[in-house]
Symmetry: C2
Subunit: 335 residues, 2 copies
């Protein structure tokens, strides 16, 4: 039995040039897993943190948390068969020819969706769904402020908020190109944070009421403006600290007066059971919208996996709109 494959590891913690696509053992399956032949994987910021040695998949040196591919060993799970097209979150190991995917979070790929599109779905759509609904409790017709609207999670969040909740969506980004794209996805109000004080724009757009929910990828540098932008009883979800993690001045009385809920969250470190429940609910709720092509995965660039260094550098340059995808098998047309 051939037990070798290729996968991407970081030779040493550090920059993108540490990444190497090299031969290593095929994954060992536990009873919970399916074995997937990977067609495409996608790049996430958590992968960069892992590459830099700042977080770790303790049991898996291979980078990557989401894949799309084909079941090649169903491992006695009756719900899946060899040949099934699936996507999902893995516990590391996505940048590889084969990966173990826990069966209870494998999601079937809708028929007209390619592998490269499919791998752009799990992380950003599950994160957007989780933060907006499970944590942010976004209700129909509420107003949501989505920072980094052209990012992977941003593009997913804008679509979900519009299609699902008929929300008023206010999106921020740092270029006109990105703001145009947010509007194409359905954003009602867009703000160039480099040129406008976003809190003033949010208050103006909401009759001084503020947003009901904030999706915050920026953290410290936006703290005061986010607090000014949120309404009474608002829900503020911190899912990134691109603008620094240390806030130097937090006024708790303001949090009390506005009765704000601030929740920090990360999807990757959550339990297997949580990811399974989230994947299941997501497919029940959002799957039909994807099948009907009302909600789309947004792809910025596809790199062959041999160019994984360039793919990471592209994300670090922060110019992408939507997801950066790694093609592991095929040429993207033979699906």
């Amino acid at each position: 039995m051939y037990t070798k494959m290729k996968g991407v590891i970081a030779k040493n913690p550090g920059s993108a040039e540490q990444l190497t696509y090299t031969e290593m053992p095929k994954p060992q399956l536990t009873a919970d897993d399916l074995l997937i032949e990977v067609h495409a994987a996608a790049v996430n910021r958590t992968d960069i943190l892992n590459r830099e040695g700042k977080m770790g998949y303790v049991e898996n040196p291979i980078i990557g948390v989401e894949v799309a591919g084909v079941v090649v060993d169903a491992n006695q799970h009756a719900d899946f068969q060899i040949g099934d097209r699936v996507m999902g979150l893995v516990n590391g190991g996505a940048y590889a020819e084969y990966v173990a995917l826990p069966e209870d979070r494998a999601m079937r790929i809708p028929q007209q969706v390619t592998f490269e599109q499919a791998t752009a779905i799990p992380e950003v759509f599950l994160t957007a769904y989780q933060t907006m609904y499970w944590i942010g409790h976004l209700a129909e017709h509420e107003t949501i402020l989505i920072h980094a609207g052209a990012s992977g999670v941003g593009t997913a969040a804008i679509q979900l908020a519009k299609q699902f909740s008929q929300a008023t969506v206010i999106a921020t980004a740092g270029s006109e190109r990105k703001l145009d794209f947010c509007r194409e996805l359905g954003a009602d109000v867009t703000i160039n944070y480099k040129e406008q004080a976003f809190d003033e724009e949010v208050l103006q757009a909401t009759d001084d009421q503020g947003a009901d929910v904030i999706l915050d990828f920026v953290g410290a540098s936006y703290w005061e403006k986010n607090l000014a932008s949120i309404t009474t009883d608002g829900r503020w979800v911190v899912i990134g600290v691109l603008g620094g993690s240390t806030v130097k001045h937090v006024n708790l009385m303001q949090l009390m007066m506005k009765r704000v809920q601030v929740t920090g969250t990360l999807l990757t470190p959550r339990s297997d059971a949580y990811k399974a429940a989230l994947s299941k609910e997501f497919m029940e709720q959002v799957g039909p919208f994807i099948e009907a092509a009302q909600i789309h995965p947004i792809i910025d660039t596809v790199f062959p996996i041999e160019e994984v260094q360039q793919a990471h550098e592209h994300m670090e340059a922060n110019q992408n709109i939507g997801k950066i995808v790694l093609r592991v098998k095929g040429d993207g047309t033979d699906e």
Copy 2:
């Protein structure tokens, strides 16, 4: 028709000596109100803020947010009759001979509960119930850290957490007398915050897991220790800033890694509808426990309303265990 009564106002914003019990008009009822002849009112920190001019009941200069008394005008509300004994949250005006109580948040006083005991129930028990269940989502057998365990809300929270949720209760206070009382109410672990590092004690008591829910009345000065004391996916409710409101260093990445939910909240400024829904659910859920004398209002001292200045000074001295009550009518024995 005699339209005068006596009530307490602050002559000018300032210290307790500004309080005066003086003649003024009886309250005007809206269609939503019952008219209550007040037998007892209770003192809350929000009353002190109002006295100091830091918050305001815009429409009511009379201090006080909770009462117990008798319906003297049912105002065509069929659910109540003249003579009914009720308690509840009012929109200011409690320190007076008569007050308007919105009918949909009037709670019937259980038979064996006196007026002075009854007025000790609404604010602290509704606050404890709201923060622990509606915001903190305390589940059965979870662990809750209750700061200021001997305060009004603290004594209510300890009893609710034990009776309702069979929770493990960790309470802090600043004297052995207060800690003894917390244990009498059911606290499993008590910590003298003046002598012990409470975060270390919490971690030791929870096998290094931390508390699932924190009720925080202290704010800034406890921030770091609370963050160290909370478990992954913990819920941290900030309902007071006795230790200052400005936190000088907040690490958002730690909030994300621990996936902590921090919610600021206040009960008094919430909407009439919110208070009505909370009062109704509270009486359905907790009323039977009060009737069965399994949950008790905790009274520190009863002052005649003429001694309202001393009552406020007693709260400001911070030595009370449980509620400070003002007797408005009767001698406390004729009920």
